[in-house]
Symmetry: C2
Subunit: 210 residues, 2 copies
Amino acid sequence: MLLWGRWKVVAGLAGLALSLELLLRYMRRRKPIREVLFFPAPVTCIEPVLYPMKQCSCPLPHTDSAFSRLLLLLLRAQRSLELCVFTFSCPSLARAVLLLHSRGVRVRVITDNDYMAASGSQIGPLRSAGVAVRHDQSSGYMHHKFAVVDGTVVLTGSLNWTVQATQTNRENILITDDRVIVKAYQQEFERLWQEYDPASYDFFPEKENK
Amino acid sequence: MLLWGRWKVVAGLAGLALSLELLLRYMRRRKPIREVLFFPAPVTCIEPVLYPMKQCSCPLPHTDSAFSRLLLLLLRAQRSLELCVFTFSCPSLARAVLLLHSRGVRVRVITDNDYMAASGSQIGPLRSAGVAVRHDQSSGYMHHKFAVVDGTVVLTGSLNWTVQATQTNRENILITDDRVIVKAYQQEFERLWQEYDPASYDFFPEKENK
């Protein structure tokens, strides 16, 4: 009887320890990032977002918006930014990308060959600044609009990186750090990055005959 | 001493019960839906997806694809389908939507006024079949491409509902049942549904002067 009592105590204490461990794990669990931004966003001053220490007295509203939030999320990048976007002509988004590039963040951009040289495209200025850019060479569109920040957060949705998309259209961007989802987008980016390696371009197939 | 021993037993048993409860909850927790589909998808036969009991001996491959998966996820709808899509000209996706409508699923479609009457648009046939459709009347695009299935699953991404998008372009669709995300898209849909109520159209502003 005394032995049975001791076993109950041992089992009870083990149970208590296990329940405490589970409770602590539950309380310590990482809060997931899951957010949706909807556009159009009102036009606001983005200088404080790009340069938090800078004062700005321009006449634009100095308030938060879906667009300033998008910039903030991108500017969190410390190590890498993979950007896979159909059309990129928004100067403010180009400024954010160039800022990251100047900070030493590894920026890689994949875009669509049909629109990269369109009027207002920011792909030229990005390349001039030394940002690595690759593009498709197919008749179909490279129509993705996603970004991977530091390999840990994905931003994806309907929004092309244009002024019309951010200021006029009805658009959405979903932001998540779900590992399964981030991994899927990261892998798609790497797959396309390899596929669009300039070494395998066949714009000049006649060269192959030489 | 005996009393202390009893308290230990009571505390231990309580701990065991709590740990068992936590373990059971952990084991019973719902597996989240989180999936990403990448396009272009190979052209495959979709008849078995639309009509699982039907045999098909057409020459197309009878294999799974990102497109058949998309159809399957949509066809799971039992109660409602909210669809918010810029361009809708893919006949196979229209067949899936009409199938849901014929089964009594409440289908509501929001689309863009600039493209809804374009050649090949499926918006006309959907309306003719009795599907409720609303559209923007602004100069900006209603550029969303998302769907909410039964108020519990969101499908969102870059893919317009066109044959080119599914068969030729590089596209993605993220699928999730995360409640925070689903709620955000559902609310955006309801907001636009109200905003695009035909009662508030102002195509004919001269009427207001009468």
